[in-house]
């Protein structure tokens, strides 16, 4: 099947994160999204950028208690994603411009995506 678009993902170290984001900002890329995934015992954080429909993604892989620098200095609007990562995964982000202190998405349990839990499926009627 024809690929819709090429998506390049580069894994980088947390130390070079700010530099890379700065380069994207200077290159007039827009921030598409940021997200965190729990893979095994580690968190993968994706930063996706786009310019003229060219999609680029950088990724850092961290342990759950690593502190991540905020990119809101370069991309003001990133606070929604950073607060979300904090509220759902408990990723500590340093220096967010609008820090909701864990009140952006109010959840019933703290950091629910860190150790996912479910309401058990009760027995169906008649079973």
């Amino acid at each position: 099947m024809k690929k819709i678009e090429d998506q390049v993902t580069t894994v980088i170290s947390i130390a070079s994160l700010i530099g890379r984001v700065e380069a994207f900002r200077k290159g007039a890329y827009r921030l598409v999204q940021m997200n965190c995934s729990k893979i095994g015992e580690q968190f993968e954080i994706n930063y996706s950028f786009e310019k003229d429909y060219r999609f680029e993604n950088i990724r850092i892989i961290i342990t759950p208690d690593t502190e991540v620098p905020s990119i809101t200095g370069m991309y003001w609007g990133a606070f929604v994603y950073e607060n979300e990562m904090h509220d759902l995964y408990g990723v500590q982000v340093k220096g967010i411009n609008i820090d909701f202190q864990g009140n952006f998405i109010r959840t019933s349990i703290p950091y629910p995506f860190r150790d996912p839990s479910y309401k058990g499926e009760g027995p169906c009627q008649g079973k």
Binding site: R106, T107, S108, I109, P112, P116, S117, Y118, K119, G120, E121
Partner: protein
């Protein structure tokens, strides 16, 4: 003769619905379904409402909001749970943040099934709730009468 059945004003609240049922509730107001024919008005203010229409399942955040809204509605009042999420949590019942249907927070009088509930069934649900509203009023009046009768006796 009672006027309650002829003039139900609804208050609509979206608990954690996906919007599907919400827009169907709103669609009931518009020309094709036009529930104003039955005197139904979406009043948007709990203090004026008679019928509390809730869509979507309950989560920990909106439990208090729903109870608060419910308490603000003057008696007699009925609750209509619209859509399968409001009935039992639906496809989202296993989500960690969903604690189930509306009946886990406030008493529900009519359940409207469907995902998303069709406008026809929403109207049917509201019309059914009017019978219950009437019963509740009769009970309320009865209570008042026995109270006054009691004082007179003393």
């Amino acid at each position: 003769m009672t006027y309650l059945k002829r003039s139900p004003w609804i208050l609509h609240y979206d608990a954690s619905s996906c919007n599907g049922c919400d827009i169907e509730v709103l669609a009931c107001l518009t020309p094709l379904y036009d529930v104003e024919r039955f005197g139904i008005v979406n009043c948007g203010n709990p203090k004026h409402a008679d019928v509390f229409v809730v869509t979507g399942g309950i989560n920990e955040q909106n439990k208090a909001v729903i109870r608060n809204l419910y308490d603000q509605i003057p008696d007699p009042k009925v609750v209509v749970a619209v859509g399968i999420c409001a009935t039992s949590g639906g496809v989202f019942r296993e989500c960690y943040n969903i604690s189930g249907g509306i009946d886990t927070a406030i008493p529900v009088d009519v359940y409207v099934p469907g995902c998303a509930a069709r406008p026809e069934s929403i109207i049917d649900g509201i019309v059914q709730s009017l019978g219950i509203l009437e019963e509740k009023r009769a009970k309320m009046l009865g209570r008042k009468r026995t109270k006054t009768a009691g004082t007179e006796g003393r």
